[in-house]
């Protein structure tokens, strides 16, 4: 075969003989190539993450469009205080993470470890607050899958429970004006005879909004006044849950980074894992930056609170 012009030759500057960085993997020609591959790989991974969350966001978009009112009201049951607090915490952790990368670039091991720990602490705080919020939702029975009672909107923003417990009575009274409208919605029981063969379990006079009655009221079709609200809470849990899951995975990775930093693996020449993790962490932050207004801040000006 005459036409065989691919030259199998030695690539310039490559071959054994000159020393490799200990972290260089065999299939890369240079440390530079390894670095740019990992960093690009991380970005491609993040694109994948965008689309992953994108599926949730598109569901959100569709249902917010469909159940505009219900989303507004359901959103008002979240605590803006907790949400905003968590937003700040997460932003702060992004800062510490950026500083950690910076420290790694400079090869300052101690500083790197310090910032990694700080990031972890902030992440833990975030998750802790999330647990409180989830627990509040749980006590209000705004949990997906708990049945028909999801539609009941109980209004109690600005009600900060350091320890999860029943919604504070003070707050309930404070906002009773806003509640009235909602309660009337649920109490409006028309004087009707149930159609034959069809169940009608709610009886007039029941106060489904009252705490403690929720379980009893559950299953009553009369109280399921807002199908959209159930979807809102499902999305709330799905989105924040998926976000929290990413945080938890992030915490695990942070531990691993910390261990490696402690072992002195990262130097001013080699810190790719720290940097890539930073990208991941900031990405998770960005997701929250969107979740906060989308979930907590719908139609607050209407004063459902």
């Amino acid at each position: 075969m005459a036409n065989r012009p691919i030259v199998l030759d030695e690539a310039p500057g490559h071959e054994h003989g000159h020393s490799h960085h200990p972290m260089q993997q065999h299939h890369f020609d240079t440390m530079e190539q390894q670095y740019s591959s990992s960093s690009f790989g991380m970005w491609v991974f993040l694109i994948q993450e965008i689309m992953f969350f994108g599926g949730l966001f598109v569901a959100y978009l569709v249902y917010r469009h469909t159940y505009y009112n219900a989303f507004g009201e359901a959103s008002s049951t979240l605590s803006i205080k907790l949400g905003a607090f968590n937003t700040v915490v997460l932003i702060m952790s992004s800062l510490t993470m950026a500083l950690a990368v910076n420290a790694a670039q400079l090869g300052r091991r101690f500083l790197l470890m310090l910032f990694l720990v700080a990031t972890m602490v902030l992440g833990t705080i975030f998750l802790g607050v999330k647990v409180i919020e989830y627990h509040d939702k749980y006590t209000e029975a705004h949990i997906p899958g708990s049945g028909a009672d999801l539609g009941i909107i109980k209004i109690q923003p600005f009600c900060f429970h350091a320890t999860a417990g029943p919604p504070c009575a003070a707050d309930e009274e404070e906002h009773s004006a806003g509640k009235a409208e909602n309660h009337s919605m649920q109490q409006a029981t028309p004087e009707t005879a149930p159609a034959p063969g069809e169940t009608l379990t709610a009886s007039a006079g029941q106060q489904p909004g009252e705490h403690g009655d929720i379980q009893a009221a559950a299953g009553s079709p009369r109280e399921r006044s807002m199908p959209g609200a159930e979807i809102y809470f499902s999305l709330y849990f799905a989105m924040t849950g998926m976000h929290a899951l990413h945080m938890i995975i992030g915490m695990g990775l942070l531990l691993w980074l910390l261990w490696n930093a402690y072992r002195g693996l990262y130097t001013a020449e080699y810190f790719t894992p720290v940097e890539n993790f930073g990208l991941y962490w900031h990405f998770v932050d960005i997701i929250w930056i969107y979740l906060f207004p989308l979930l907590y801040l719908i139609n607050r000006h209407l004063g459902h609170h």
């Binding site: 960093s39 690009f40 970005w43 491609v44 993040l46 694109i47 965008i50 689309m51 994108g54 599926g55 966001f57 598109v58 978009l61 569709v62 469009h65 469909t66 803006i80 905003a84 937003t87 700040v88 932003i91 702060m92 992004s94 800062l95 993470m97 950026a98 500083l99 910076n102 670039q105 400079l106 930073g278 990208l279 900031h282 990405f283 932050d285 960005i286 930056i289 969107y290 906060f292 207004p293 989308l294 801040l297 719908i298 139609n299 607050r300 000006h301 209407l302």
Partner: protein
């Protein structure tokens, strides 16, 4: 990179952090104002700016190569495809 630019970077981080705090405050504030149909766009606009800040500075997109930038844009573009084309259905349904 020189140590000097790393110091500069730190300064940027603090500035961005500050801007993000302001953004958070702003978005909470805006949520309680009656802006008519603009409540949602304003909220998303602020979120978008915050996200861009995080991306450009914390994630160093500003200083990264073209491939990275194209990658990020591609991600956003595809997300756009998902949103826009799903909405072509929902927004043009007679009533649902």
């Amino acid at each position: 990179m020189s140590a000097h630019s790393h110091e500069g970077a730190r300064k940027t981080y603090y500035l961005v952090f500050f801007a993000l705090l302001v953004g958070t405050g702003l978005t909470v504030f805006a949520a309680f104002q009656n802006l008519g149909i603009f409540n949602a766009p304003v909220a998303l606009g602020i979120a978008g700016i915050k996200a861009i800040l995080v991306g450009l500075f914390f994630m160093h997109i500003k200083d990264s190569n073209r491939l990275t930038k194209v990658t990020v844009l591609a991600g956003i573009f595809w997300l756009g495809i998902l949103f826009v084309l799903v909405l072509t259905d929902y927004l043009s349904r007679p009533w649902s």
